[in-house]
Structures are given as structure tokens and as C-alpha cells.
């Protein structure tokens, strides 16, 4: 039984307002993506790591690994135009067997606790899927046809990564053509008819989207 993680680091940095893509920016001295990969190695050194990067950033990444003396084994796959295409490219690069598990993780979630990774693999081995979630703390309204209504907060969960799936099922699910409802990998699996099992996420497992998030991550990391 093999375990994989596809780490999606497809961002080109243009929306983040920095010259370097955000996944390469230093977080307390260590590039975000190196921190992310290291968490999976720490959780389970048998996990095969596949990193998806924009084609134009692969050279920079290899230079960065050299400069940081980062030599954890990982495969590199060129990303596509969308997150979905990037994951699909990574899936196309591997051959899987029944019983294998594939995690898909955002490259810009460098603080993912090792316990969240371990639990997601454990639940997926049993149920075929595992999606880490945390309770929603905001009041959420749903807008429909120009009016809006409140959603019962106790029923809402915010979805994180790594999302872990039966490898054979995930590859098959990604054979379907793209549709706009695919906002994460669980939605792709769900569209293919699979039930999704939820696992415990962690509020510190933030996604670095805005420049302020990097400063927030620094604080969270210092408090670990």
C-alpha cells in the first residue's frame, strides 16, 4: 500500500503583489513550500511527495532547494491553468494500485499539524476519503435570487487540506470533464458519486492567501 501527497503550489505570485510566488516566500527564514513538504515527511516518511509548480517556476524551485540545502526526495510536475488541471497533471504522473491513498494539499498551508495529516490518512484508509474540517465561527448568509437567508451555523464546516482519498477512485473521478462546482478535491469525488468522510482539521492550518497571512503564520509558528 503506497501513500502519496500531491502538493499544489501552482500560484504565480501575481495576485500576491510580490516578485516571488507566495509559496517561495520565507516564513521565519524557511520558504513556505519547504515547510509544507517537511510536515508530510515528519508525519510519515513513507509518503511519496509530488509537488506541482508552474512550468516557469521549476528552475527557481530547484535553485531554492539547493540554496536551502533542502534534499527531501520529491517529484515535480508542471501545473495547468487551474487547480483542477494541476491536480490532474499530478495524478497522470503516477500509477496506483488498489489500497493506495492520495492526499491533495495546498502548498500554501505550511502549518498543517502532523496530527491532522496522520488522522486524514487513517480515516481515508477506512472510509475511502477524509476531508479535514473546522467549525465555522462566522455567521454565514446564503444569497439567492437577490435576497439572503441565514444558515444554521452549527451545521457548517470550513474545509481544509490535506484531503485524502482512495487512489484508484480519485484518479477515476478526475477523468470527468471540469465543471465550475469543483472547488476542491472532495467536490470532484462527490460528483463521481462518492461519499465524503469528515475529519478533524485545525484552526492553525491557515492558507496563505494575502500578504498579511504570512505575518499571521509567523505568529502561529512562534506559538507552536
Amino acid at each position: 500500500m503506497s501513500k502519496y501527497v500531491i502538493i499544489v503550489a501552482g500560484g504565480s505570485g501575481s495576485r500576491f503583489g510580490s516578485a516571488l510566488p507566495k509559496q517561495f516566500l520565507p516564513l521565519n527564514g524557511v520558504p513556505v513550500l519547504i515547510r509544507t513538504i517537511s510536515r508530510f515527511a515528519e508525519a510519515d516518511s513513507s509518503i511519496h511527495v509530488i509537488v506541482v509548480l508552474p512550468n516557469g517556476q521549476i528552475g527557481n524551485w530547484l535553485e531554492l532547494c539547493g540554496a536551502q540545502s533542502f534534499f527531501l526526495a520529491h517529484s515535480i510536475v508542471a501545473g495547468g491553468q487551474s487547480r483542477w488541471q494541476s491536480v490532474k497533471n499530478a495524478l497522470d504522473s503516477i500509477t496506483v494500485s488498489e489500497g493506495d491513498l492520495i492526499a491533495v494539499h495546498d502548498g500554501v498551508r505550511p502549518l498543517v499539524p502532523v496530527s491532522v495529516i496522520a488522522e486524514a490518512f487513517r480515516v481515508a484508509a477506512k472510509n475511502g476519503s477524509a476531508v479535514p474540517c473546522v467549525p465555522v465561527t462566522d455567521t454565514i448568509r446564503q444569497v439567492t435570487d437577490g435576497s439572503s437567508h441565514i444558515l444554521p451555523r452549527r451545521s457548517l464546516m470550513a474545509v481544509q487540506t490535506p484531503q485524502v482519498f482512495n487512489a484508484v477512485d480519485l484518479k477515476k473521478a478526475y477523468d470527468a470533464p471540469f465543471n465550475d462546482d469543483f472547488t476542491d478535491d472532495a467536490s470532484v469525488m462527490e460528483a463521481a458519486g462518492h461519499k465524503i468522510a469528515l475529519t478533524k482539521g485545525d484552526v492553525r492550518n491557515i492558507k496563505i492567501t494575502h500578504p498579511d497571512d504570512l505575518k499571521i503564520a509567523e505568529i502561529l509558528l512562534k506559538n507552536e
Copy 2:
């Protein structure tokens, strides 16, 4: 036409893990609640400020105001066991006329932009209600009967404060008995049959809930 803001600062600090309630903690040198009140004064100096505090904290607050030379006029009301009861106590302390507007704001949202306050009052004057919202960036799943399904993210909005309402309608809505679905003031108004108008919130308008949030607020404040 009078304008009011009820600033709910009912927290006792026990969940926050500090001796001082979080609304009294310094944020770049100035207590959170003083920053919050100052934002409303800055937005419109004609707004009457009503601060709801736990009964046991009113003395501490007055001392803090003295120590900080903070003399902006405001009324103080003792809070209740729940947020709903605290708002109700504040509403019971005022007499309103048709055309008056009441904002309800979380005391621990000290970064609320003046533009968000002004826009909420403007929209409420026209529509009877105004609820600042920001788009939801997380993927959200709804859990029902042991299974879960993804919600279309583009239709979801996270609700902030200040929520501003027609004063007469809000007082009447608070005459209804409490129910568990009252997670904010808009939900109380909705239960009384009122339509809710949404306005533009701001991602920087964070609620200080965890100790880390205070550090995040310091960063956001420095970048204003």
C-alpha cells in the same frame, strides 16, 4: 433623527485565558474597546454610544478610561447572560422615535473601517436594515443527518458588524422570546419578518476571539 450604536463588550475574559477581559487588552498601546468606540466617533460624531459591559467590569472600565484620558461621551449598560440579553438591556435603556437608527457592534471588532460604518447607516436609512458582509473564501460543507454536502461558495457571505436597523423595528423584534437561531441581530430581525439588506464589509474588520487575533490586529493596524 437620532443614531445609536450599541457596542457589546460582554465578555468576561475567562475563555480568552487572560486576567483582563479581551475588550480591555491593549492593542498597540490602546485598549481594544477604546479603539472600537473611537471608530464610531470618527465616522459620525452625532452617534450616541451605548457600551454594554459585564456588571463586574464597569468599575474597571471607568478606571481604564481615566487612566487613558478617554473622555468620549458614552452610556454604560450592564450586560446579561447572553449576547441577546445584553443587546436587549441596551435597547431597554433608550427611547426611540420613527426614523432613528440603531447599530449593534461587537466590542472586539476594533478595526472596523469608518467607511463600513458610514455605508451601513446610509443603507439602513434607506432600507431599514444593513448587514455588512464579505465573501466567504473557504470551501464550506453543510452537515445534515450524518452526511455532508458542499455549498456553492459564490452564494455565501460572512456576516460582520455593525449591523444597523430601523430603531423602532429593532426594539419590537427584541420583544420576542430568545431562540437558539439568534446568532446575530439580523437573525432576530428576520424572525420578526423583516427583510435584510446586505452592505459591503471589510476583511480587516476582524473579531478578536483568540489571543492570536490580537497579534493579527496589531499587524493590520500597522498596515492601515
